[in-house]
Symmetry: C2
Subunit: 192 residues, 2 copies
DNA sequence: ATCTTTGTAGAGTGATTAGTCAATCTGTAA
DNA sequence: TTACAGATTGACTAATCACTCTACAAAGAT
């Protein structure tokens, strides 16, 4: 099946790029090395992605989608709003810890000039669910009544911060889980 | 006075670099443009900074120092620990809002491969005060007893998050100040 | 006045890199 | 079998960029 091999090459290119970007940054990584690492010729990269920029943005969307899928798949429809939040928070953290490179990349991406190149529809698609959830939580008076973007930003930056801490601090798995739980309690105390 | 004109050139180079970095990122900004923007020749840049990397790290240290100075200068020695924290938080936020480019640069820098090139002594010098303050607050039981780095990371990322929100949301000065105060109350609720 | 150090300029260099292109290969369908 | 479209290759190019080099100027120092 040809379409399979096409997807394989795309995937190979994205994961090669991810590995190298996480290590050397966008600009420390020439397209030639990405192609080599993916096991394809230089020109092939540009067959699938028109420009390097295109590759970077595509990679961002790919990673975000995979994370959303994971969280979605692991979120049981609990009854209470708080339990929903806690579970989602936990899943995001676990995913991030398992996917170091992905997390590093996203961080880099967010504070780069590429960030503004993500199509508005993709942003909507990727953050829509979380927005709705926050809106619902506000309606149910489970969390403070504030601008949704305000809440979301605090939530997101909290996640990033904790991740940064966990990357540096040398903790075993059990300790990590305790810190994650602890940090959620703190976060919730702040928002409710 | 020659030493004055030397410092001027250094300053010119740093502020030119800052302006361009904030707009185009480190790698989107050639040294030639930095020199031009600063009104000096290409070679002059390399007289003051051995490499581009050297310039970037120096700029980071310069910005951080200036922020620390500002916060230091505007922090009255209040009695209560909480008031101290609030005031410091407020000052950091006000500084960040007044210095858009600086804030953008620091964000970019933190999630770049350059971050690891800051000498340990500088890191200590720049974050020492805050560390001590947190330790004192924990001793006084004003905030939760946790790892200092844990607290500091949550504090920092909260600051970054709020800044990001305020950059995007179009609020007037009064509204901004209210959000800052509100966010401090939330942060404090979380940490105490 | 002469020597030394430091600052400044800007053309030049060698290496690197994103992206192109013409040529070949592969799978499919008539 | 033939024809065609898309996939793949890798040599090539045009541009860019960090950094060097040489020449000269300005300012102290002796």
């Amino acid at each position: 099946m040809i379409s399979q091999s096409v997807n394989d090459k795309r995937k190979d290119l994205l994961s090669a790029a991810l590995r190298l970007f996480a290590e050397n940054g966008f600009h420390g990584t020439p397209t030639s090395k990405i192609a080599k690492e993916a096991g394809v010729a230089n020109g092939t990269l540009f067959h699938y992605y028109k420009t390097k920029e295109d590759l970077i943005v595509s990679l961002y969307i790919d990673i975000k989608s995979r994370m959303s899928e994971y969280v979605e798949a692991h979120s049981e429809k609990e009854k209470s709003v708080k339990k929903n939040f806690r579970n989602q928070y936990l899943q995001v953290m676990l995913w991030s810890l398992k996917h170091r490179d992905e997390f590093l990349f996203i961080q880099q991406f967010h504070s780069s000039p590429f960030a503004s190149l993500v199509p508005a529809e993709e942003i909507e698609r990727l953050s829509g669910k979380t927005c709705e959830q926050i809106e619902k939580a506000i309606k149910d008076k489970a969390i403070k009544k504030r601008d949704v973007n305000y809440i979301m930003t605090l939530f997101t930056s909290h996640t990033f911060g904790l991740n940064q801490y966990l990357s540096k601090a040398q903790l075993n798995e059990k300790e990590q889980k305790e810190v994650i739980k602890d940090s959620f309690d703190m976060l919730w105390k702040m928002l409710s």
